[in-house]
Amino acid sequence: MSKPPDLVQGTLDMLLLKVLALEPMNGFAVSQRLKQVSGDVLQVSDGSLYPALHKLEQEGWIAARWKVSEKGRRAKYYSLTRLGRRQLEKDAQDWGRLSGAISRVIKLKEA
């Protein structure tokens, strides 16, 4: 499975969970929202997005429901489950600790 090289291993899941925590949306909307929120910094290729979403669904963190989109097509809408919310909290905490630690290391003054 190919992941964008610019994303730290495992953070894609967290990002997708976070985006879906806002509201239920389909895959296309997820990629748009991610791009938009991060100011085009974080981009997930369409080829990697869907395998990642399906994996999250298999883990039971997000659930899918078929709805008719504004365009009148049948589209698959993903929403966060209770398990997913818990996972997101955990991931966010871990991320907070990790990034805090990394930035402390980076900010070390050279002697």
């Binding site: 389909n26 369409d46 080829g47 869907y50 399906h54 298999q58 078929w66 589209a75 698959k76 398990l83």
Partner: protein, 888 residues
């Protein structure tokens, strides 16, 4: 957490496996929706519609690839592969229906045999005793090895002494089995009863389904309390839930019913009623009681055994009658099962062999098929299928086959267990213990089902692995070339096949040897004369109710008169050739009676030594009725009563043993208590007492006119069927005393069938297995030979075109077919020499390495192999050289 996880994921996974098409369609829709959205966005940005769509597709990096990754993300590939393999396997099995039918049938026989035997073994050997901590229960017998007496039941006084002195047991339990007469409600009825010490309920941890068991203090005075067995409660009272507190007349005395035992206890105690011992009776009773002990935790059987032997020595110092006695302990389970266990284990082995042969056959079939499928495998491997993936597919197929066979086998097992239950006796006698075990009926439950499933799976893997590995080893470049058979793989295939035939014929040989030995042994057993003429004898027992206070049979005189009156009426019945009473009938295992005696005027024995023999009270017509030959002197007459001199008759083995050099007639014997001299007036032939595998024991017969017994067995020689003569006999007895029931009505043939049950079951089942093995081996040899012949059609054609004679061709084919069979028989002989030793305990009159059986079976097996080779050999002879050559 986990649970919640599964709640989401299990339905999803099931859906992606079983609704694969639906899931795929949805995946397609989802990705297409994305592409549409993207295209629209691109158009909105100003792209041309075609470019916009292309860009969207490019961003996706290929829709099919994305789909595959999504499927991967669902972790279901292995499941999908399995489903795919199953579908493929089913399809290919359906396509070759003949092959499938033969394979499934073969496996069904193997698996069915194993399942049926396992069900039997489980119900007998593995079922725990229906009591608390049954594995710590031991039976305690006493023995007197100097006199050659083993496993005698101790007396009440022994029990009391043991109870005082022992430290190895948490508790001891004493019981006696007997019968009693129930009167007052309809026809008088003789019921089987158990008299127990009052710790009965606590000792076994019994939870009565109604009422209670005895209290410890209920032993001190005659309480006349009674517990009913489940079966009797059902039979007599229709399962009346208000039975507790009701009264019942037993042996003329009123008893109060205090409880009902659980149904499962009947596998240990198959009696109708249970009553308590009172302490006075305990001290009085001196014969053949049963004692169980429950070992303390951590105490071994050996420790308990040596303690009990020490106690016996101490007892002998206080009570000289117990001199030279020791204690003999055995776990209750072993004591109950020692007779049947070797037979069952033998059958389990035999069934396992049948399964192995079936496996070999199916492996052979698959091997032949894998040659045909070699090209298919080669193509798939050339297209990039992994070996492991192919192996998995082959194993899936063979396991599928095995499971189908397992299902059919399970049906077969259910059916055969049903058939077995019909033909099997419900009880088996335990020799030398005057006891019997009731056989639980085998039934198919979840464990059996799991067993069948597990052996099916194992079978599938075992017989599937050989051909699978075989076909993966092949060189696919060779195979891909049109019309060529890979020469090397062909030879290797032939070698595997030959090896399978060797294994198969060796196993079949062992089985047929086993069956042959059993058959030989059984026929000798049944042909062995028990010392009397067992056919056309009807037996039943009568017990005079002399325990009751107002019994009319208190006096020995009254008892003698009663039996004489019964006999007079019965002898007068039409259709009865002769009739007699005996205290104990040979082979009936009803009871035992043995004792010390002294030969008058013989040189006195060293102190502490005794002579001992079986004691039997018989009525004058006994030897005539039984057909026991009178060898010397005279038989008893009606004159042998108390107003004439005491007389005894001895049997041949007694004469041989104690009067080796002189005529015993005219000598006098004395037995304890009265010490009256009794003249030996006759010598009769010996009879077998406990079983066909025993020798006659020295026996002294006493005339019933000079003894008295409460319980006697009636034996009647008649050619009329039991159903006709029995009512007449009952009526004759009723005309003397209408309150007198009879019990244990059996023909002597039934008695013999019961004591030979273990051997008969083993022999019968082993015959079936041996036949199966023989048939399967024949099929296997036939299959291999005919396959080789079909492979060599061209060669045979060329040979014949070059002038080979039919005899040469015949020799070629037979030689190739028979060689592995001969090797197999050779292997089988060696294996049998080792294995049949294990069954020597089940054999009678034939050695485990009986050369005649070995030679006979070897010839039989080779003949079968020859017959199996002949059909393909004849086909080879019919090869038309021209036609064969045209193919080249």
């Amino acid at each position: 957490m986990r649970l919640e996880h599964w709640r989401y994921t299990i339905p999803l996974r099931l859906r992606s496996v079983f609704r694969r098409q639906r899931a795929d369609e949805e995946l397609d829709t989802e990705l297409r929706d994305h592409v549409e959205c993207k295209t629209e966005e691109n158009i909105a940005r100003g792209m041309l519609p075609e470019d916009a769509r292309l860009a969207a597709l490019l961003d996706m990096q290929g829709i099919e690839r994305a789909k595959e990754e999504c499927r991967d993300a669902r972790h279901v590939t292995w499941l999908q592969d399995l489903v795919q393999d199953l579908r493929y396997g089913l399809r290919s099995l359906r396509k070759s229906a003949g092959f499938t039918a033969v394979a499934v049938l073969t496996l069904a026989l193997g698996i069915g045999a194993n399942t049926a035997i396992f069900a039997l073994v489980k119900s007998m050997l593995l079922q725990p005793l229906p009591v608390r901590a049954g594995d710590r229960l031991v039976v305690i017998w006493i023995d007197n090895l100097k006199n050659g007496w083993s496993r005698i039941g101790p007396s009440g006084q022994d029990y009391l002494d043991w109870k005082m002195q022992q430290k190895s047991f948490e508790g001891l339990f004493l019981f006696e089995h007997g019968t009693g007469t129930i009167t007052g409600s309809g026809e008088p009825e003789q019921v089987s009863g158990l008299r127990v010490t009052t710790n009965f309920g606590d000792f076994f941890g019994i939870k009565p389904i109604l009422g209670r068991t005895f209290r410890l203090d209920e032993a001190s005075s005659p309480h006349n309390l009674m517990i009913l067995s489940y079966a009797y409660w059902q039979r007599k009272f229709g399962g009346d839930p208000h039975i507790v507190g009701r009264g019942l007349t037993l042996n003329g005395e009123p008893y109060t019913i205090i409880g009902v035992l659980p149904a499962n206890l009947s596998t240990l105690f198959a009696y109708d009623i249970v009553v308590p011992f009172d302490n006075a009776r305990l001290r009085r009773d001196d014969s053949d009681l049963g004692v169980f002990g429950r070992l303390r935790r951590g105490v071994t059987l050996e420790q308990a055994s040596s303690e009990m032997n020490l106690i016996m020595q101490r007892i002998a110092r206080q009570r000289p009658s117990r001199k030279d006695y020791g204690a003999f302990l055995m776990p209750l389970r072993s004591a109950r099962l020692q007779d049947i266990r070797p037979a069952l284990l033998l059958l389990l082995c035999a069934a396992g062999f049948v399964l192995l042969i079936a496996c070999a056959n199916v492996a052979n079939l698959l091997l032949s098929r894998s040659i045909v499928r070699q090209r298919e495998v080669a193509v798939r491997m050339a297209l990039g299928a992994g070996r492991v993936r192919l192996l998995r597919q082959f194993l899936t197929e063979s396991t599928l086959l095995a499971l189908l066979g397992g299902c059919a086998g399970l049906l077969l097992a259910v059916w055969s267990n049903y058939a077995l239950a019909e033909s099997m006796p419900s009880r088996i006698f335990v020799p030398n213990a005057a006891d019997q075990i009731s056989l639980a009926k085998a039934h198919i439950d979840a464990t059996i089902f799991v067993f069948a499933l597990v052996i099916s799976l194992l079978t599938g893997i075992i017989f599937g692995l050989i051909p699978a590995l075989q076909s993966l080893r092949c060189n696919f470049n060779e195979s891909l070339k049109e019309g060529k058979r890979g020469a090397s793989s062909g030879r290797r295939g032939n070698r595997s096949r030959a090896a399978l035939v060797i294994v198969e014929s060796a196993l079949a040989f062992v089985l047929v040897i086993g069956a042959g030995l059993m058959l030989e042994s059984l026929s000798r057993l049944l042909a062995a004369s028990p010392g009397f003429e067992p056919h056309h004898l009807l037996t039943l027992r009568i017990k005079l109710p002399n325990d009751a206070k107002d019994s009319k049979y208190k006096e020995p005189r009254q008892q003698r008169a009663a039996f004489q009156n019964f006999l007079a009426r019965i002898e007068a019945l039409p259709g009865i050739q002769s009739a007699a009473f005996a205290e104990i009938l040979p082979l009936s295992q009803d009871d035992m009676d043995m004792g010390d005696f002294v030969i008058q005027d013989a040189t006195p024995l060293p102190l502490g030594q005794h002579l001992a023999a079986n004691f039997r009270d018989v009525s004058p017509g006994y030897f005539r009725t039984m057909g026991i030959p009178l060898i010397r002197g005279r038989a008893f007459t009606n004159q042998d009563n108390l107003s004439h001199a005491r007389a005894v008759i001895i049997d041949e083995s007694f004469a041989r043993h104690f009067f080796p050099h002189e005529d015993p007639i005219g000598h006098h014997l004395q037995v304890p208590s009265t010490w009256v001299p009794r003249e030996i007036v006759g010598v009769v032939g010996g009879v077998l007492e406990t079983g066909f595998d025993q020798q006659p024991r020295p026996t002294i017969y006493f005339p019933t006119g000079q003894t008295s017994d409460q319980t006697m067995s009636l034996v009647v020689r008649t050619s009329m069927p039991t159903s006709t003569i029995l009512p007449a006999i009952k009526h004759a007895i009723g005309s003397v005393d209408k309150e007198q029931p009879v019990f244990e009505v059996r023909t002597m043939d039934q008695i013999i069938a019961e004591i030979t049950a273990a051997q008969r079951i083993a022999s019968w089942a082993l015959d079936v297995f041996a036949l199966l093995a023989l048939a399967l081996a024949a099929i296997g040899i036939y299959g291999v030979t005919s396959y080789t012949v079909s492979q060599r059609v061209h060669e045979v054609g060329i040979r014949m075109a070059l002038g080979a004679q039919p005899a040469d061709v015949m020799r070629l084919v037979l030689g190739q077919g028979l060689k592995p069979a001969v090797l197999g028989v050779g292997t089988g002989v060696l294996a049998s020499l080792g294995l049949t030793r294990l069954m020597s305990g089940l054999l009678y009159g034939v050695s485990a390495t009986d050369p005649l059986t070995f030679v006979g079976v070897a010839i039989l097996l080779l003949l079968v192999a020859l017959a199996a080779c002949c059909i393909p050999a004849r086909r080879a002879l019919r090869v038309d050289p021209m036609a064969a050559l045209r193919y080249e």
